[in-house]
């Protein structure tokens, strides 16, 4: 132990980040945690300081309202303050990493966490290029979404509770990305799952919201089981659980069946957390939460944790090419599958939810084919434009809700059939969302174009010839799978352009369908909501410059590629080999990608131009369209095949086994025992002094006998 500490100290002393601002990394998760504690306490406060019963009703009500406003101001300052501080610290650490050579991660251990014999787990954080990139995304976008939430949640009585959960989420997410070992990552992993559950069911008086939260939790359990098994396997094979130790052991040990098993179980965890087939079902339901939550947790950060985990475990996946092929295949199929569903959704948030599932599939396509930089690049750009789209949708829902509230009409504020023509009422939101639509569709020069194009060309390049293409999965050659994945990606790109343009046209184009009385109440969101949206719009436009391809030299080439090289470079090279795609092919690929996007947009513009029928007159979707509207009836299928049989089994076991068997034995047995003890025990307490005397004498004899025997 002492040796280890000494070695660590010696290693840390040599690390270029030692003694810099990076030593303050422990504050990163702690700041939002502090915010969560303070806001959590503030959320309990109103109940303690309710105005007294004296004075007239009006005065009491206005006093209560004033107290509520004061509390909201305080909560807003605390919540965004801690986020801004964390972001500032992250930027400072990021700045300190510039211009120094960082081949090894900067690991700081703060405490022994689980010292149990062979198992030594420390609570440590790790600063490297990948974890800092994720930290910047989480704190940066997190701050913007916190600001947006101040406006969005303004009239909600659970304001303080909401920000307590949101701060707690960021604390857990930062633990996830900064942890230096799998168990620490897992703590963050479970923590974000908990916060996701709490925020999906935030409006818990509606049963559907509670059910959605529960569903997310239960489905994620299946994935977490995989993650746990992967950790057990790592420990039993390598006796290590920290990233450096495990990855070094894998690299020196080579491709063994155990490494393949570890990779597959890790991927099961990713499938749950990042909503891939077949465990994607929770994400569309998760839209029951407040919309900024959907933006932060279910689009920009938490659901990308699986992509992060694969990128973080790149050495493991690089030594398990079959598992990598499975990752890319599952990603591709998910991307295509979810994109088709998004084509016919009427709820604006459902469109975005399926779009998120689809884009996450894209990221897995990339990291599975060993294009870790491309996957992380798409993660970052997707965080920009999808957060924007969700926040924009939040502004739209906010306006729609206000309009219906104004006339006391009870209608669906999220249904695209009730929207239309909103560009006239909320021009800034419409413009920002249009930019994001172009980005997600893959139109140059917006962020999504570069990341998506990089993924597609990376998959194509690896299909042409690479160690990955020479590997096989289920007896199928890797090259075939990779070409199929590329085709899926291309079709998905087309569908993405179509469904996003459709959504924009239905919401913002044509005439307004909200209702004649309601139109007057439609309005642009307040500045506190539009400002974060516009900030994200800027990022959506310039995000592509993070990693420009050599083909389009309009700035520094491959900044992100270069930045992530020490973390994932070796693993990527192991899977990709040295095949070079001819220049002409690359140009052709870019041309195809752009043509696909333009084609999709053009098709949707033509298809959804002009005025659309309002909800009452909208045709009912039948046939294939109906199938897509019902999302292939997967939920009903799962319900029929899994949920109901299990419920029935549990019910019958309870009725036939538990109740007559266990319950009666237990409660009957308890009664019998108590009765026996009572009958027996009361004989000693019947008030007969003579009996007491005998007992005392007998007791004294026993004591004397015991003493003389010992």
């Amino acid at each position: 132990m002492t040796m280890l500490t000494l070695l660590q100290a010696a290693g840390a002393a040599e690390h270029p980040l030692a003694g810099t601002v990076a030593e303050w990394a422990w504050l990163l998760p702690l700041l939002p945690l502090l915010g969560a504690v303070v806001n959590g306490l503030l959320s309990l406060l109103p109940r303690l300081s309710e105005p007294g019963l004296t004075g007239d009703v009006d005065a009491r009500e206005s006093a209560a309202a004033a107290a509520h406003t004061r509390q909201q101001t305080l909560v807003s300052i605390v919540a965004t303050g801690v986020m801004l501080s964390a972001f500032g610290l992250a930027v400072a650490i990021f700045a300190s990493m510039q211009g120094v050579r960082l081949d090894a991660p900067f690991v700081r251990t703060y405490a022994q966490w689980i010292p149990a014999g062979n198992l030594q787990i420390d609570w440590g954080l790790q600063i490297d290029q990948l974890s800092m990139l994720m930290t910047l995304v989480v704190t940066g976008i997190g701050t913007l979404i916190h600001v947006f939430s101040i406006g969005y949640m303004k009239s909600d009585p659970g304001f303080a509770r909401y920000f307590a959960y949101l701060n707690l989420f960021v604390a857990c997410m930062l633990t996830l990305v900064l942890g230096s070992s799998y168990p620490v990552l897992f703590v963050g992993w479970e923590g974000v799952g908990l916060c996701s559950y709490l925020l999906i069911g935030f409006w818990f008086s509606e049963r559907a919201n509670v059910e959605a939260g529960k569903k997310a939790f239960v489905v994620n359990r299946i994935g977490d089981f995989g993650f746990l098994v992967a950790m057990f396997l790592m420990f039993s094979t390598f006796q290590r659980l920290d990233f450096s130790g495990v990855h070094a052991a894998v690299t020196s040990g080579g491709s063994t069946p155990v490494v393949l098993a570890i990779a597959l179980f890790l991927f099961l965890g990713c499938v749950g957390k990042s909503a891939q087939l077949p465990l994607y079902v929770w994400l569309p339901d998760a839209m029951a939460g407040p919309t900024p939550v959907s933006a932060l947790i279910h689009a920009a950060t938490m659901v990308t944790a699986g992509v992060y985990l694969v990128a973080r475990s790149a050495p493991i996946f690089a030594h398990a090419p079959s598992a990598s092929l499975l990752v890319t295949l599952v990603g591709a199929v998910t991307a295509l599958f979810a994109a088709t569903i998004a084509l016919r959704q009427w709820d604006i948030k459902k469109v975005l939810a399926y779009s998120t599932v689809s884009q996450l599939g894209y990221m897995f396509m990339a990291v599975g084919s060993g294009a870790y930089t491309a996957g992380v690049f798409h993660l970052v750009t997707h965080a920009f434009f999808k957060a924007l789209l969700f926040l924009g949708a939040g502004s739209v829902i906010h306006a729609m809700h206000a309009a219906y509230h104004h006339t006391h009409r009870d209608d669906d504020a999220q249904d695209l059939r009730n929207m239309g023509g909103l560009r006239r009422y909320m021009p800034a939101t419409a413009a920002a969302m249009a930019l994001a639509t172009l980005a997600i569709a893959g139109v140059p020069p917006f962020a999504g174009f570069f990341s998506k194009d990089e993924i597609l060309s990376a998959v194509f390049a690896r299909a042409m010839g690479s160690p990955l293409a020479s590997a096989s999965l289920f007896g199928m050659p890797g090259a075939t799978i990779l070409y199929a994945v590329y085709a899926c990606g291309l079709v998905t790109a087309l569908l993405t352009a179509v469904y996003m343009t459709r959504m924009m046209m239905l919401a913002f184009g044509g005439r307004n369908r909200t209702g004649d009385a309601e139109q007057g109440a439609l309005h642009e969101a307040p500045l506190v909501m539009t400002a974060p949206v516009l900030a994200l719009a800027v990022l959506t436009v310039v995000g592509g410059w993070l990693n420009l391809p050599a083909l389009i030299p309009i700035g520094p080439i491959g900044v992100l590629e270069h930045w992530l090289e020490p973390v994932t470079g070796a693993s990527a090279a192991r899977l990709a080999g040295a095949t070079h795609v001819p220049h002409a092919t690359e140009q052709l690929l870019v041309g195809i990608a752009v043509a696909t996007a333009v084609l999709g947009i053009a098709f949707a513009l033509l298809r959804y131009r002009g005025d659309q029928p309002d909800k009452a007159h909208a045709p009912v979707d039948t046939g294939v369209a109906g199938l897509l509207t019902r999302a292939y009836s997967v939920d009903a299928g799962v319900d029929a095949v899994i949920v109901r049989p299990i419920n029935a089994l549990a019910g019958s076991v309870f009725a036939r086994g538990v109740e007559p068997g266990v319950d009666r034995t237990m409660s009957g047995g308890g009664t019998l025992l108590a009765w026996t003890a009572s009958v027996f025990g009361s004989r000693f307490q019947d008030g007969d002094v003579g009996k007491y005397a005998w007992l005392i004498a007998a007791g004294a004899l026993v004591v004397i006998a015991a003493l003389s025997l010992s």
């Binding site: 008030g687 007969d688 003579g690 004498a697």
Partner: protein, 98 residues
């Protein structure tokens, strides 16, 4: 000499114990308890020959406490007699349930 004193002491104590266990009259019980106390006193005095003056000190202590206890105990017996018209302890079973 000490052995004989200890034997007498043990016999006295045993008589006292048997009396407490077998008799029901409160006065007799009381006397038996006094008998046990004095049996212990006898062994204290006898052993003081071997171990010094501490035994004598204990005897004085026990006699003082026994005198106080006798006063309280007899007062209780008298009030029991006044209340129940008897000093037979087997009749005093009010703590019993039912």
């Amino acid at each position: 000499m000490i052995a004989e004193a200890l034997i007498v002491s043990a016999l006295l104590f045993a008589i006292g114990v048997i009396g407490v266990l077998t008799r029901r009259n409160a006065i007799i019980l009381f006397m038996c308890v006094e008998l046990m106390l004095n049996a212990v006193n006898l062994s204290f005095v006898a052993l003081a020959k071997l171990h010094g003056v501490a035994g004598h000190v204990f005897v004085i202590m026990v006699m003082t406490i026994a005198a106080a206890e006798a006063a309280v105990g007899l007062a209780i017996v008298i009030s029991v007699f006044r209340h129940f018209g008897s000093v037979d302890l087997s009749a005093l079973r009010l703590l019993r349930d039912g």
